[in-house]
């Protein structure tokens, strides 16, 4: 009895400490608007999707509770596994390439040289180009016989069949297009991160006799960790939900997790509930991916307190 009251008191004290002081309250007030915007808009749709995934709902109305049935059916669906496989390959390959090339580009243009303004702008152009158009344009370029890439690849014997009719080649094409398209995002972000590393740090290291490689691994990478986490994490989450690139470039042939959701929820008349189950699957697995990243890179923000 007494211990319980003490416990209560202690908790009250903790609560008071966290929300009682004006300084702390201000901190929460500053966080609140953004949280409210996100929760107010996204909370209902996501929760509703979770609800749909455990019912036999159709596009025209809520059904009755069926437990895990949709999930069982989804895991039995070969299209789902095909989508998962492609998504994982795509995500790993494209994010890794984007990171390596992006970091290289960021390092290269983080210095004084003639025309760097133009180079920086040029780097960003692929990313600024409307996605709806670039996917169509790439499809044209990959076309057999009439597309410049398809034609060239054929001529030099790189491929023997139409690129767009082979799912492996299509997946590779999607990865390359994604690298072309989103590497600038990575480069720009990492460049901004590099900018925040004070020059003196390098100066001091050089005085201490550190060579280029040592400086890169001992200074640049550790100091860039926060930026790398953000850049790689967001690119991974985006790539993991890839949809429009696959849809347009492969003309609906190449399955990803999100195209599976799209087909189920927005085209099919029958797979509506299963599509929602797949959405929840994406949500949960993306959450795990994020946790792994945060553990791996350490989210300094949270551990400080």
């Amino acid at each position: 009895m007494t211990s319980a009251t003490r416990e209560k008191k202690r908790r009250g004290g903790w609560f008071k400490e966290e929300f009682g002081t004006p300084e702390r309250r201000l901190a929460y007030y500053m966080v609140l608007p953004a949280i409210i915007i996100i929760v107010a808009i996204a909370f209902f749709p996501i929760l509703y999707s979770v609800l749909l995934s455990v019912t036999d709902s159709t596009i025209i109305g809520l059904g009755s509770f069926v437990g895990a049935e949709n999930y069982v059916e989804m895991f039995a669906n070969p299209d789902f596994w095909e989508g998962l496989k492609n998504t994982v390959i795509f995500t790993v390959a494209s994010v890794a390439l984007e990171f390596i090339i992006g970091l290289g580009v960021a390092l290269a243009i983080n210095r004084a040289f003639r025309g760097r303004g133009l180079v920086r702008a040029a780097v960003l152009v692929p990313w600024a180009f409307p996605t709806v158009i670039s996917a169509v344009m790439w499809r044209l370029m990959f076309q057999d016989e009439i597309g410049i890439i398809g034609e060239t690849a054929n001529a030099i014997g790189l491929v023997s069949e139409p690129i767009l009719s082979d799912t492996t080649l299509l997946l590779i094409a999607c990865i390359l297009v994604d690298v072309w398209k989103t590497m600038p995002f990575m480069a720009l972000l990492l460049l901004a991160g590099l900018q925040t590393i004070p020059g003196e740090v390098y100066e001091a290291a050089r005085v201490d006799g550190a060579n280029v490689t040592q400086r890169f691994f001992r200074i640049t990478l550790p100091l860039l960790k926060g930026t790398i986490l953000v850049a790689v994490l967001f690119r991974t989450l985006d790539a993991y939900r890839v949809y429009d690139l696959f849809w347009v470039l492969s003309s609906e042939q190449l399955e990803s997790l999100s195209t599976f959701v799209f087909k189920s929820v927005r085209i099919s008349q029958l797979l509506f509930a299963q599509g929602n189950a797949a959405s929840v699957f994406i949500f949960v697995t993306a959450f795990l991916i994020a946790l792994i990243f945060i553990k791996l890179f350490g989210m300094q923000t949270g551990t400080e307190e």
């Binding site: 107010a40 209902f44 009719s165």
Partner: protein
């Protein structure tokens, strides 16, 4: 509260459901309303205008002209809500609007493959009373079937499309042929000969990609070999696992394997077909495409019209003509509160006079059978040469689950064309897939 109305049915339960659905949406919004308060003005509609949902106008602007004409003589205004030009994107957008219970749209210009699904979801109005059998008889058989579902008529056929065979009249003549091929075997033979004589790059191009157009092409091969996907009189009966259907797909695959068609056709859509056939100097002897392509004739960079001929698609020896039905219907949103006005507008747009106007100006083919023999329309080359095709169209399976069927068919047809699976395998798989879809829907 919700178990009551599982499954299909255009019952009152559906409406109740949608209201609940909306309520939940509203409830989740307590916070968002805060943001929304700054939103300027509401959605469209409500102003007394009739909203007509349809893709972009044709190049000649005939749709806009007709709407203007209608508005001048009517006591309400019709506003064209421009939807995406791509049918798939259009359908997706429309479905989202209707799913949300939006009455923003009154009249829907819908692809011929939509009415069954829209009707089964209770989203469009049964027009059997307004559009009686005596009227229906004046329309072409294929388009009429596309709006017939569950024994009722859910729309009025607006304009039609049919798969056709385009051929190089000039090259055929040089090689000593006076007529286009009647059978698929003849087509292959002629393609090979002309290819040799004239040095043309390809024999035949068509749409083999895994998409809706690929389904049309595949079904045409099946129909012209005497097969079918489902029983036209009972869409729940799957007939695709038949020797005829397999023979059809075998012919399609042989186009590629024998080299009559380039390997690339397995990823061709209409977009790749028309330049391959029509752009000078003309890479192909034959092409399968819709009537729209004929309009390229004589424009800059394309072949001249007299170099090209149009004919119905070939068949397998002894079977009747068959083309895939394309085109658009006019439907009424069941949530619309302007039902009478909607019908007035549809009556106007589908009247012989307006159909003729669009046919003559923009080669938009009429769905009224007697218009095909109208002297002015008869002169249109596509109609003059391709009329048997227009008169012998088959609709794709009329089923609420057509979207699901289409996904399976385009995948199997494409795999078969590429030689990844045999025609027998393809039809067997499809038989099981389509039966599963129909069963799941019941």
């Amino acid at each position: 509260m919700t178990e009551r109305n599982e499954g299909s049915g255009v019952s009152t339960g559906r409406k109740l459901n949608r209201r609940e659905f909306l309520k939940m949406g509203g409830a989740g919004l307590a916070g968002a309303a805060l943001l929304g308060a700054t939103g300027c003005g509401g959605g469209s509609g409500g102003s007394g205008d009739l909203i007509f949902s349809m893709g972009p106008d044709d190049a000649q602007g005939t749709m806009a002209a007709l709407i203007k004409k209608f508005n001048e003589q009517s006591d309400f205004n019709v506003v064209h809500r421009v939807m995406p030009s791509d049918t798939g994107t259009y359908f997706d957008k429309l479905r989202t609007q209707l799913q949300a219970g939006s009455g923003g749209v009154d009249v829907i210009g819908g692809d011929v493959i939509w009415p069954a699904q829209l009707a089964a979801n209770g989203w469009i109005v049964d027009m059997s009373d307004k559009f009686p059998e005596s009227e229906q008889k004046k329309f072409l058989e294929g388009p009429l079937q596309s709006v017939t579902y569950d024994g009722k008529v859910w729309g009025v056929p607006w304009y039609t499309d049919a798969g056709m065979l385009y051929y190089r009249a000039d090259l055929l003549e040089k090689s000593g042929y006076s007529e286009p091929p009647k059978t698929w075997d003849e087509l292959k033979e002629m393609a090979d000969k002309v290819k040799q004589d004239a040095g043309t790059k390809y024999g035949f191009v068509f749409q083999g990609d895994a998409y809706e157009g690929g389904v049309c092409n595949g079904l045409e091969y099946i129909w012209t070999h005497g097969g079918n996907a489902v029983d036209p009189n009972d869409p729940n009966k799957v007939l695709i696992d038949s020797p005829e259907a397999a023979a059809g797909l075998a012919t399609e695959a042989s186009m590629l394997s024998s080299g009559v068609a380039p390997e690339g056709v397995s990823v061709y859509t209409e977009e790749e077909t028309d330049p391959a056939f029509f752009a000078t100097p003309g890479d192909a002897v034959f092409a399968r495409n819709w009537p729209y392509m004929y309009a390229y004739g004589g424009t800059k960079g394309y072949l001249k019209q007299d170099q090209v001929g149009v004919a119905p698609l070939p068949v397998d020896e002894g079977y009747p003509l068959a083309s895939c039905l394309g085109g658009w219907d006019m439907l009424i949103n069941s949530q619309s509160d302007m039902q009478e006005e909607a019908w007035e507008f549809i009556k106007f747009m589908t009247s012989p006079e307006q159909m003729k106007y669009r046919a003559v100006r923009a080669t938009v083919l009429p769905t009224r059978s007697d218009l095909l023999t109208d002297p002015e329309i008869e002169k249109i080359p596509v109609v003059a040469q391709g009329r048997p095709a227009i008169e012998n169209t088959h609709p794709r399976p009329v089923s609420p689950y057509y979207s699901d069927m289409s996904l399976e068919m385009n995948e199997q047809f494409n795999a078969c064309l590429k030689g990844d699976i045999s025609p027998e395998q393809a039809v067997k798989t499809l038989q099981a897939d389509l039966e599963r879809i129909i069963e799941a829907g019941q």
